[in-house]
C-alpha cells in the first residue's frame, strides 16, 4: 500500500484512466455547491457588528478569571471530566475487545486457522458473528458521541453517567475497529505453529496473538483516552457532566474571562496526558 510518490505518479500518468479528471470535476462541483449550501459569506466576518463583537470577545477574555470561588468550581468539574474519560475509555475497551476479536476475519473464518473446519460450521460460527460484530461496531462509531450522550441523558438522566456510556459506546466502536485491524495484521504463522503443537485456543491467544498485538493495542488505547478527555469535556454541553457544562454556562453569560481559564486548564491537562501517554507508548512499542 505504501508505494513511493514517484512510482505512484508514474503509474498514473501512464494509465489513460479518466479518474483524475473525474476526481477534479467532482471536487470542483462539490466545492461550488457546498459554498452555496453552507451560505459561506466571508464578508460577514468583516462587518462592523462582527468586528465589534470580536473586540468584545478578545477584551472580555483578559484578564482570565482566576478567583478562588471560580477555581473551586472548576476543580470538581475537571476531576469529573477526567473520571468520565477514564471509565468511558475502560467501558470502550470492554466492549471493543470481544467485538474486535469477532470482527477479525483471520480469527473467525478466513485463513489457515480455519482450514479444517467444514464450510457450514465456518459460516455459522465464524462468518455470521463476524458480520454482526462489524455491523455493531460500525453503528457505534458512526454516531458521534455527542448524539449518544443526549440520547443517554434522555434515557438515564443528567450527570456523568450518560457521559460515560456515550464515550463507552462511541469509542468502543472506534477501538473495536482498530483492534480488529491490528489483529488482522498479526502474523498467523506462529499461530499455526502453536496450533500444530496442540495448544488450546486460549494458549494460542496468550502466546501468539497477544504478544504481537498488545503493544499496538495499548498504544492506540492510550491515544484514545487522550481524545476521550477532550470529548468528555465537551459532553457537558448536553448535561453529561464535567467542564463542558461550565463552558456552556460561561459562554451564555458572556463571561469570556471564565472561558479562557477553563480552556487553559483543559489545555494543561490534555498536554500532560499527551506527554505521559507518549512516554508510555514509546516504552511499550519498543
Amino acid at each position: 500500500m505504501n508505494s513511493s510518490p514517484t512510482a505512484g505518479s508514474a503509474g498514473r500518468f501512464q494509465s489513460k484512466s479518466a479518474f483524475p479528471y473525474l476526481l477534479v470535476f467532482f471536487f470542483l462541483l462539490s466545492l461550488v455547491l457546498s459554498i452555496r449550501v453552507a451560505q459561506v459569506d466571508p464578508r460577514l466576518l468583516f462587518e462592523p457588528a462582527a468586528l465589534a463583537n470580536l473586540g468584545r470577545f478578545i477584551r472580555g477574555m483578559f484578564p482570565p478569571e482566576l478567583s478562588r470561588s471560580f477555581l473551586s468550581v472548576l476543580g470538581p468539574a475537571l476531576v469529573e471530566t477526567i473520571q468520565i474519560s477514564v471509565i468511558g475509555t475502560l467501558l470502550a475497551c470492554l466492549l471493543a475487545i470481544p467485538l474486535g476479536l469477532l470482527a477479525t476475519s483471520s480469527l473467525t473464518w478466513s485463513g489457515i486457522l480455519h482450514e479444517r473446519r467444514e464450510a457450514k460450521r465456518r459460516w455459522l460460527l465464524g462468518f455470521f458473528p463476524y458480520a454482526v460484530a462489524r455491523g455493531l461496531l460500525s453503528i457505534f462509531r458512526s454516531i458521534p458521541e455527542f448524539v449518544w450522550a443526549f440520547m443517554f441523558v434522555r434515557a438515564v438522566g443528567l450527570g456523568p453517567f450518560p457521559g460515560v456510556l456515550a464515550i463507552g459506546v462511541a469509542y468502543g466502536g472506534m477501538l473495536g475497529k482498530v483492534y480488529s485491524e491490528i489483529l488482522e495484521g498479526v502474523d498467523p504463522r506462529p499461530l499455526e505453529a502453536l496450533r500444530a503443537s496442540g495448544a488450546t485456543t486460549l494458549g494460542i491467544v496468550m502466546y501468539g496473538l497477544l504478544p504481537q498485538a498488545l503493544p499496538n493495542v495499548i498504544s492506540y488505547t492510550l491515544y484514545r483516552w487522550e481524545c476521550a478527555i477532550r470529548a468528555s469535556a465537551i459532553l457537558g454541553f448536553v448535561g453529561a457532566g464535567g467542564l463542558g457544562q461550565q463552558v456552556e454556562l460561561s459562554m451564555r453569560m458572556f463571561q469570556f474571562n471564565e472561558v479562557i481559564t477553563i480552556l487553559a486548564v483543559l489545555f494543561v491537562v490534555v498536554a500532560s496526558v499527551d506527554l505521559l501517554s507518549g512516554k508510555i507508548r514509546a516504552r511499550v512499542v519498543r
Binding site: 489457515i112 482450514e115 479444517r116 502474523d187 504463522r189 506462529p190 499455526e192 505453529a193 502453536l194 496450533r195 500444530a196 503443537s197 496442540g198 495448544a199 488450546t200 486460549l202 494458549g203 494460542i204 496468550m206 502466546y207 501468539g208 504478544p211 504481537q212 503493544p215
Partner: protein
C-alpha cells in the same frame, strides 16, 4: 506411525497439491523428502501435522483414522507431533524462554500458561532444552534479537519441551546459513536416533538428504516418484525428479560443493 492411503488434497482454486499418495512410515524411522518446489511437499506435511484436512483418502496416525477425531482428540493428536517450519515459528517479541516453554501449551492448564508469562514455570526444562541445542545462554534474550540459525534452534528446543512422538521438519534449514545447516540437520537426526522419535524432514538440499537419511522419498507433482534407500538412487532418478527445475539442481550442486569439505561425499549428477 503414519499410514497414508491414496490421500488427495485439492485446494479451493482447483489446484491438486497432493495426488493419491500412499505411504507408510513406521515409528522411529528417519525419512527425508526431496523434490522440486511446488511439488506438494509442504502440503503433505501440513496434512501430516493435522493442519489441513485431506480431500479424500485415509490418513492414520498411530493406527487411528484422523478424520473422525473430535476437537479434543485432535488436540491430543497434535501434541504428539512436533513441527519445525522453515521460518516464523516463533513470536519475535517474546523472550526465548517463553517461546520454548510454549511447547507445554498442550498439557498446561490455561491458568498455568498465563502464570508462566508472568513468571516462567519449569524454567529448568527450558534451560535443558536450550542446552541440548547449544544456546543455553540465550534464555532471557528477546527472540527477535537472535540470528536465523539460533531461532531455528529455539524452535527445536520448543519441540524438545513438547516431547512429541513425531518430529516433522519442513525445510528447517532453507533459510539458514549453509554452514549451520549441517549441524541442525544432524542435531535433529541424532535426536531421533537417541529418543526413538519418528523424524520426517523436507529438504531442499539433495546432498544433505542423501548423506544423512536411510530412507529418501522423492515427490514430484504431488506424487511419490520413488521411495528408496540412498544407495539405490541413481542419477537418472534424480534427474527425473528435478526435470525442468534447473535452478534447483544448480543450488543443490553448490550446496554439494560447500559440504565437500565436511566429508559428505555423494556428488550430484551433472
Amino acid at each position: 506411525m503414519f499410514e497414508l492411503g491414496q490421500v488427495r488434497k485439492v485446494f479451493s482454486d482447483g489446484s491438486v497439491a497432493v495426488d493419491e499418495i500412499t505411504l507408510t512410515v513406521g515409528p522411529g524411522e528417519q525419512v527425508a523428502f526431496i523434490g522440486p518446489s511446488g511439488a506438494g511437499k509442504t502440503t503433505l506435511f501440513r496434512l501430516l501435522n493435522l493442519t489441513l484436512r485431506p480431500t479424500s483418502g485415509l490418513l492414520r496416525l498411530g493406527g487411528v483414522e484422523v478424520s473422525i477425531l473430535s476437537d479434543f482428540e485432535l488436540r491430543q493428536a497434535r501434541r504428539r507431533i512436533g513441527t519445525i517450519y522453515q521460518q516464523h515459528n516463533l513470536v519475535g517479541r517474546l523472550r526465548v524462554v517463553h517461546n520454548v516453554l510454549a511447547g507445554n501449551l498442550g498439557r498446561w492448564s490455561t491458568l498455568k500458561a498465563f502464570a508462566s508469562l508472568v513468571r516462567p514455570q519449569e524454567i529448568a526444562m527450558a534451560r535443558q532444552a536450550l542446552g541440548q541445542v547449544g544456546i543455553p545462554e540465550k534464555l532471557s534474550a528477546r527472540t527477535d534479537e537472535l540470528s536465523g540459525g539460533q531461532q531455528q534452534r529455539v524452535a527445536i528446543a520448543r519441540v524438545l519441551v513438547q516431547d512429541p512422538d513425531v518430529i516433522l521438519a519442513d525445510e528447517p534449514v532453507s533459510s539458514v546459513d549453509p554452514s549451520l545447516a549441517l549441524s541442525i540437520v544432524t542435531l535433529l537426526r541424532d535426536l531421533s536416533r537417541e529418543s526413538g522419535k519418528t523424524l520426517l524432514m523436507n529438504l531442499h538440499s539433495v546432498a544433505l538428504a542423501l548423506a544423512h537419511f536411510p530412507r529418501i522419498i522423492g515427490i514430484r507433482d504431488g506424487r511419490v516418484l520413488f521411495d528408496l534407500a540412498p544407495d539405490k538412487i541413481s542419477d537418472e532418478l534424480l534427474g527425473a525428479l528435478y526435470a525442468g527445475h534447473a535452478e534447483e539442481e544448480i543450488q543443490a550442486e553448490r550446496f554439494n560443493e560447500l559440504l565437500a569439505d565436511s566429508g559428505v561425499c555423494r556428488p550430484l549428477p551433472k
